[in-house]
Symmetry: C2
Subunit: 147 residues, 2 copies
């Protein structure tokens, strides 16, 4: 009850769109959900996606989505403990939202693909214009804005 009340108190309005954006209205959350839908499970697998999510942002988004019941975290190894992430039913239901994003993007942004499109090579080196990144972004280097 306290939790529900706290969550409600943070709402900007009762609008279903606004409340959903309070949860996933950023550049990264829906990409994490996309990757979990595609079968990724570990922190490292999620961090290794083409968009190169900064690891501090990934850790924050995983925590927030777990608290919201969108993803489930379970240990798969001890010493050192490692966790695997998966989508709850609530998280899997974002498939519909992701489908709408894919349709809009493919119709209106030239050169975009889905991860399951067979034709284009999705490895970073194959993108025609995006600078190739050969490794994890290092601490201290400038990062793009995340708002």
């Amino acid at each position: 009850m306290t939790r529900t009340r706290t969550a409600s108190a943070r709402r900007r309005s009762a609008c279903a769109i606004a409340c959903t954006l309070d949860l996933v209205g950023d550049k990264w959350s829906l990409l994490v959900i996309r990757d979990l839908l595609h079968g990724k499970r570990t922190f490292k697998e999620l961090a290794d996606s083409p968009e190169r999510i900064p690891t501090n942002i990934l850790a924050d988004r995983l925590k927030r989505l777990e608290e919201a019941g969108v993803i489930v975290r379970a240990p798969y190894r001890e010493r050192p403990v490692r966790h695997a992430y998966s989508l709850s039913e609530k998280g899997t239901a974002f498939r519909d939202v992701l489908g709408a994003f894919i349709r809009w993007g493919k119709a209106h942004i030239a050169g975009t693909v889905t991860l399951h499109d067979p034709a284009p090579d999705m490895t970073p080196a194959a993108w025609p214009i995006v600078p190739v990144r050969t490794g994890r972004r290092r601490r201290g280097l400038p990062r793009p804005p995340t708002d």
Copy 2:
């Protein structure tokens, strides 16, 4: 060509979801599009929505969405000049994305509504827990994070 190249260079990947999030992956852009779909036209009308978007963020989002061809700006009065905003065909196509957000929100966040639901009173004073705001947020007061 330069513009396309610049826009492409900012892409995190060729993924249609990621590229769409590069444009509307924040807490506010889709709410502006929602309001334009519902017939709002002026800066003041958009700023007066229940979520009380800070006016500096509203100005920024209108500029970005206009540059991306999602909205169209046209003067409707001179001295002082005033502009009206509307959605392009590309912008109207976000209806599908908003519909997916509404379905997810209403199914998974208790107490959420759409602006067209007849039952609940959508005026701020009618929301059960959200603190009532009686006016525009003033400069200098703390704002919620916008990431």
